[in-house]
Amino acid sequence: MASKRKYRGIDQLSTRDKVVVSFMVIVPTLIVLWLVWLPAIGSVLLSFTNWDGIGPLSGIKSVGLQNYRDIATIYPPFWPAIQHNLIWLAVMFLVATPLGMLFAVLVDRGVAGTRFYQTSIYLPVVLSLALIGFIWQLIYSRDQGLINAITGGTTDWYGDPNVNLWAALVAASWRHAGYIMLLYLAGLKGVDPSLREAAKIDGASESQTFFKVVFPVMRPINIIVLVVTFIESLRAFDLVWVINKGRNGLELISTLVTQNVVGEASRIGFGSALATIMLLISSVLVFVYLRIAMKED
């Protein structure tokens, strides 16, 4: 204890502290730079080639913008994929995320059995893909699924491209709501109870308390939840992949990348071009977020 150190203001650092802070920043940054950004740059560079992943790097030939031209003109799944990602975003943003937030608020009340409610809603997030695939196959299968058995219909939930995206979105929302609930709940737990008490004393109802007092104070968490929703919609992959590898109405940009890069297809150059397009779209999001964050400071 004891102060050999003079108090020079809350942000002034001793040399030793400066070293610590540097390490705290540099180590994670280096790891991410090395294993994410460097390969990402590699990926962007590869998008200008038609490499198939085999052979020495020196043997890679450039094809300029050919991949991009092909994607925009002769590659049938591309534009539908963009469309589907936008629909996905809309549904997540308008339905799944608000649902998750609502669940968090309800669970936060702390009524008896709250652990059970939390667990039930969060459980879908925890399950592996194989299980999720099986679960929804049991429900949606045209010949043997629950829905068709109960309604007696013959809707091809997975095979009809007009329907299957919505079927997948129901399953995705089932998962997404739990995920958002978890994040939002962590934030709600941190809200100062004295704020709510003050509102109570002022005679506010529950919903008034939430919308006028709690919600504004949760601003950083609200932003997280929004950003996460955008990220998840852009990167949506798992569910659609396990249904039918992202074909026939379930095309999404991430599945297109995977189909081309992973597996024997090995169209590395072409797949990298798709990934670069995805990166460009995502960076728009990052800029927007940074603008908002800058306005705050």
Binding site: N50, V63, P76, D156, N244, G263, E264, S266
Partner: protein
């Protein structure tokens, strides 16, 4: 020719190549016996030499040979273990180390696997996929092993040969694609096996009247429908055109290809509706539950049926003739087998193992895991075969040309990123064939042209 490195090898080479199979083998075995008597120590020392192409060692081999296997589910895994163990027993001093990776991951990562540190020997398939690796130098030349292989039909040797005329693949099992049906259903309803396209249409109409879906169909995974395309193409245009088309040498906008799709569109109404949401297994279950009459699939279909009476009820016929000048002597029968990696750590033992795999003993052990496939070696004892296996064997033997299935006959990137979505969109909308073919051709040019 390298200088013989042992007495036994010298003696073995005395046998002229014109001597037929069996005799030569007994001679070689005799030479082996002499060799071990003469100098086992010396032999052991030089046979584990792994640099350069030493040919198939006729003496003892030692050391560890690694095997990459995609047979990851319980029963096949045990079968692989059994014939690898048998090999170790026959070659004391050798141990076989099996690296099992689950089927899907093994296939999907084959490029990374081969460029990383692959095992000496690994499971793979014949066809373009095999030739592609040979071309890229990722697999080892095993023509010298083939010199000693007996009992393999020429068609299979051809399928194991790459464009440079050398062999890179050893077959172990194969299975035919055909039109399957349940004997009991045909008997009950008095159906007859259709021989021509007209017969098929007539039979289909009859089945519809009886409340059955004539042809079961499940293309959720994308690949099953390729089988139907192949069958129709083989019947409409013949084997040579099919192979050429798969190799990217024909235009997909060619009227010949259009004819295939037109024919398919003609019989599409006979197929189960809503096939894009149905897996092949669910379609097979409709055959099992007697809700559909026929199914164009590989003989692995039998795996869905329970052993015993149900499996025995299964039978098949070749896809009906469409053009009488072409007939029905071309079939599809994918071949599974093993290859050697480019730089194996124990080349001698690897080659001996590959030779062993081509023999009936190993193949019959492999069949224990999966009685829906047949051994490739013609001298294998077929007395234990089920009726279906016997018929498959006859079927494969009597075929003049054997194709491997679209995703093994053509470039994998073309098959999975172009053909699967294209065929699915055809099934959804069989009317716009011209638009579809133009799209396929444009994409094909961008892939093959590179």
């Amino acid at each position: 020719m390298t200088r013989p490195s042992s007495e036994a090898e010298y003696l073995a080479r005395m046998v002229p190549p014109s001597v037929r199979g069996v005799d030569r083998r007994t001679l070689l075995r005799g030479a082996l016996g002499v060799g071990t008597l003469l100098g086992a120590g010396g032999l052991a020392a030089c046979s584990s030499d792994s640099t350069g192409s030493t040919g198939v060692p006729t003496g003892a081999v030692t050391g560890t040979v690694t095997v990459g296997s995609n047979q990851s589910d319980a029963v096949p895994k045990a079968a692989v273990q059994s014939y690898m163990d048998a090999f170790s027993k026959a070659n004391p001093g050798t141990t076989v180390k099996i690296n099992t990776v689950d089927h899907n991951s093994f296939q999907e990562n084959i490029n990374n696997y081969l460029q990383g540190s692959p095992d000496d020997v690994f499971t793979w398939f014949a066809g373009y996929r095999m030739q592609f690796f040979a071309e890229k130098g990722l697999v080892g030349d095993i023509s010298d092993v083939w010199k000693n292989i007996t009992g393999m039909p020429d068609a299979l040797k051809k399928a194991s040969t790459a464009a440079d005329g050398k062999q890179y693949f050893v077959p172990i099992t194969n299975y035919p694609w055909a039109v399957f049906y349940r004997k009991s259903v045909f008997q009950e309803k008095g159906y007859e096996v259709p021989k021509t396209l007209d017969d098929l249409n007539a039979l289909g109409a009859q089945m519809k009247k009886d409340g059955l879906a004539p042809i079961a169909f499940g293309d959720k995974d994308g690949w099953p429908a390729m089988g139907t395309f192949d069958q129709i193409n083989l019947r409409v245009n013949g084997y040579d055109f099919h192979v050429s088309l798969m190799a990217g040498k024909e235009a997909w906008t060619d009227p010949k290809v259009k004819k295939v799709f037109d024919t398919w569109a003609g019989i599409l109404p006979l197929h189960q509706a809503d096939s894009l949401g149905r897996t092949w297994q669910e379609a097979a279950q409709s055959l099992q539950q007697k809700k559909s009459g026929m199914y164009v699939l590989g003989s692995f279909l039998a795996q869905q049926f329970s052993k015993g009476a149900e499996q025995d009820d299964l039978d098949f016929f070749t896809f009906p003739e469409i053009d009488s000048t072409i007939g029905t002597d071309a079939i599809e029968a994918p071949i599974d087998g093993y290859m050697m990696s480019a730089k194996p750590k124990n080349e001698g033992a690897a080659k001996k193992l590959l030779k062993y795999i081509s023999e009936p003993e190993a193949q019959l052990l492999a069949l224990k895991a999966d009685p829906s496939v047949i051994a490739t070696n013609q001298t294998a004892d077929t007395s234990g075969y089920t009726a279906l296996q016997k018929k498959s064997l006859e079927y494969v033997k009597s075929a003049k040309s054997i194709a491997q299935f679209m995703d093994r006959d053509t470039r994998p990137d073309f098959a999975s990123t172009v053909m699967i979505p294209a065929i699915q969109s055809f099934i959804k909308n069989p009317k716009d064939i011209d638009g579809l073919l133009t799209s396929i051709e444009a994409q094909k040019k961008s892939i093959f042209g590179s």
